[in-house]
């Protein structure tokens, strides 16, 4: 089954991104496909290349990057939400790409299930 995931919150203010990541990982482990993860609202901050969490905490951004690298998961950051918050091509961690909101609607159409994690 193909899942689409919408992440509405940034990496460290809220558990949403962690929950989305755990869900995505479990889905892949069970043989499902993650069609796309779309980052919107403050969720675009999950794509920053400049996050350096303390070494005794989890690295939310690296978790997503590894998922993208290991399983070819499409991580899409909304261009409009990113512009508002200073997330542009130059600030992007590898593994993420910037595109339009249409990618979210397309995920809703193409994926078998769409699930949102947010506040």
């Amino acid at each position: 089954m193909k899942f689409g995931i919408l992440v509405n919150e940034g990496p460290y203010n809220h558990q949403a991104s962690d929950s989305a990541y755990r869900f995505a990982k479990a889905a892949i482990d069970k043989g499902h496909e993650i069609f796309r993860v779309f980052f919107y609202y403050d969720g675009v901050l999950n794509a920053t290349a400049h996050s350096e969490p303390p070494s005794d905490d989890r690295n939310v951004i690296k978790n997503w990057q590894k998922l993208a690298a290991d399983h070819k998961v499409d991580l899409v950051v909304c261009v409009a939400a990113g512009l508002r918050r200073g997330i542009v091509e130059a600030s992007l961690a590898p593994g993420f790409r910037i595109s339009g909101l249409g990618q979210l609607i397309e995920a809703g159409i193409q994926a078998d299930r769409m699930i949102t994690f947010g506040d």
Binding site: V79, A80, L83, G100, L101, G102
Partner: protein, 110 residues
């Protein structure tokens, strides 16, 4: 970048969209159009003014499809079609006409 109008500098982003939409005036529109290679005729003004009115009423720049339909409704099918609008604004009635009309850069691209 910036536009110079009557000795006043008006700030714009690198693509030529105004930083502050309240800076717009007709003289500036003529200057932006010139930069875009558009020779403003009454037909061009009609669309630009329509866009400004649309923005004043709804606080957004309409999608091309919506603009075309709204123009057809107001000015008839001869003008409310893609061919007519793209002839006036070769780079798109959305992006190019919005820039000349001083509206915010459309960010909601598909």
């Amino acid at each position: 970048m910036a536009y110079e109008v009557n000795g006043k500098s008006i700030e714009a982003d690198e693509e030529g969209f105004l930083v502050n939409i309240n800076d717009w005036n007709e003289e500036l529109a003529g200057l932006v159009a010139k930069d875009e290679g558009v020779d403003m005729t009454p037909e061009h003004w009609e669309v630009v003014n329509f866009l400004r009115e649309y923005y004043a009423e709804y606080q957004i720049a309409p999608a091309v499809r919506v603009l075309t339909k709204a123009i057809a409704k107001k000015m008839g099918p001869d003008k409310g079609n893609n061919k007519y609008l793209y002839e006036l604004f070769p780079y798109g009635p959305g992006k190019q006409a919005c820039k000349i009309a001083g509206l915010p850069k459309p960010t909601g691209c598909v």
